[in-house]
Symmetry: C2
Subunit: 252 residues, 2 copies
C-alpha cells in the first residue's frame, strides 16, 4: 500500500517507480507522534523542516485575541502542513492535531530542491499548493454565500472526496472524530447551531454518524444540497496512463 502523500499526488500525475521510491524515502525518516490538541507547528514558530501528515487528523487554526477560534482547514493523511517555511520567517497560524496524529518530518532542503525541479515531483508539489488555494477559496464561498446547511454539507462532501483520494473512505464512510465545537469553529457557526444543522442532515438520510466515523449514506443528495462542484480540487490527472486504475475525476 503506497503512502498517503504519494497517493494524493497521484491524483494529479503519474509517478515512475523511481519517483515513488524517492517519495517513500523522504517520509521514511523521523516520524513524530502528536497527542490530540497538541500543536504540530505553533503560530509564530519557524522550522527548518516540514511535516507531512501520515495518519490521524489535524487542523489549521488561528485564535483571535478575544478567544474566538477559526479553523481554516482540516489536514488528513497525505497533506503537507507547512509549505510556507521555504520562504517565510514564521508561521502566521497554527497547526494542531485533533486526534492522535503521526507526521513525517521531511527535510526542508530536500523539499525545496524538489520544488525547484522540472519533474513530476516538482509539479505535483506545486499542484498541492495550488489546490490548497482552491480549497481556501471554496471555504470563503461557504462562509460568505452558503447557509448553515449548505456549508456543513459542502465541508463534509469535500472531506469525503479528499478521503477517497487517499483511499480512506471505504463504502463512503470515513473516520472524522471531531467534536461539534470543532465543526462550529470550522464552519463559522455556533456549536448549538452546528448540532441542529447536523441533525437535519441526518434526518434527511444524507449522513450517519457512528461514533467516530461519518458515513455518507446519500452522496448524490449531499452533493446536491452542498451545490458541490469539484473543479477546484483539480483532480484531472494530466499524464494519464493507459486506463490503469481509477481515473482521479471519478472521485468527486
Amino acid at each position: 500500500m503506497p503512502n498517503p502523500w504519494t497517493l494524493k499526488m497521484e491524483m494529479f500525475t503519474v509517478f515512475s517507480d523511481e519517483e515513488k521510491q524517492r517519495l517513500d524515502k523522504l517520509i521514511s525518516g523521523k516520524a513524530l507522534h502528536h497527542a490530540p490538541r497538541e500543536d504540530i507547528i505553533s503560530d509564530g514558530a519557524h522550522s527548518a523542516d516540514c511535516h507531512v501528515v501520515l495518519s490521524g487528523l489535524a487542523c489549521r487554526y488561528k485564535i483571535l485575541r478575544d478567544g474566538r477560534r477559526q479553523i481554516m482547514a482540516f489536514l488528513i493523511p497525505g497533506d503537507l502542513c507547512d509549505a510556507e517555511i521555504f520562504v517565510l520567517k514564521v508561521m502566521d497560524h497554527g497547526v494542531a492535531a485533533m486526534t492522535p496524529t503521526t507526521t513525517a518530518l521531511v527535510s526542508g532542503a530536500a523539499m525545496k530542491q524538489m520544488l525547484r525541479e522540472t519533474s513530476n515531483l516538482g509539479e505535483a508539489l506545486w499542484w498541492g499548493t495550488m489546490t490548497d488555494l482552491g480549497v481556501l477559496r471554496e471555504r470563503i464561498i461557504d462562509h460568505g454565500r452558503r447557509n448553515a446547511k449548505e456549508r456543513i454539507a459542502h465541508l463534509l462532501y469535500e472531506m469525503l472526496v479528499r478521503y477517497r483520494m487517499v483511499q480512506l473512505a471505504p463504502d463512503d464512510s470515513f473516520d472524522f472524530p471531531i467534536t461539534q465545537t470543532d465543526l462550529a469553529d470550522a464552519t463559522g457557526l455556533t456549536p448549538v447551531h452546528a448540532n441542529r444543522t447536523l441533525q437535519k442532515l441526518r434526518a434527511e438520510g444524507l449522513i450517519e454518524k457512528n461514533g467516530r466515523v461519518i458515513k455518507v449514506t446519500d452522496a448524490e443528495g449531499l452533493k446536491k444540497v452542498a451545490q458541490f462542484s469539484g473543479e477546484y480540487l483539480h483532480l484531472d490527472r494530466v499524464h494519464g496512463g493507459a486506463g490503469i486504475g481509477q481515473r482521479a475525476g471519478d472521485l468527486v
Copy 2:
C-alpha cells in the same frame, strides 16, 4: 518610479539593479486594457501566459449556480492574477476588472523558470503565493468569526496596507471605486447591510469617502475595530539593507 510589481516584492526582499531590470523587462511586453466588468481570465479558461496588474482594480470571484456571487480577493497594482497556470489545466474561478484596468502579459515560460531559480526573484514569487494564502485565510476568519463592522474594517485596513506597499496610499487615502454591492459580495453581506455598516464607520470618524477614494481618517481606530494584526502579510524584509528607505513592517 519603479513598477508596482517590483515595489510589492521589495516588501519581502532587496533586489539588485540587474534583478529590477529583469522584472521591468518582463512586464514591459504586451499591456492589456480591460474595461470594467470584463473578465481578465474567465472561470474554466486556460492561458499559457500570466497577468500582472499594473493599474486599476480587479477581483477574483466565483458565481454559484443560483446567481450568488462571492468575491474572494481584490487585486491591485503589483498583484499576480493567475499563478496557477503553471500546473493547473484550467482556472477554478474568474478574475475580472472592476475599473478600467491594465495588465502586463508575462510569458509563462519565463515566470516558470524564475520560480525554479534559487534567487531573490524566485523567492519573491514564492513569497507572493504564500502571502496570497495568508490573505485568503484571513478572509476566512473575517467571514467566520468577525461581525459585519469588524469584517469591513478589516478588509479596508488590509487594503490600506496593501496600497501603501505599492505607494498608492498617500495620506492614508486610496482609490477604491467599488460599489456597495461589490463590497457586499466580498464581505458576505447584503448591499443594504454593507451600506449601514459603512455609515457607522463613517459616523465614528474612522473613514471618509469622497467619490472614488477612501480616506482612512483614523488608522489606529480602524485597526483596533478590525482587530487587525498584520503578520499574515509577512512584511519583514529578510535581506534588509543598511536602513535605506522605509522598513516594510512600518506599513501595517
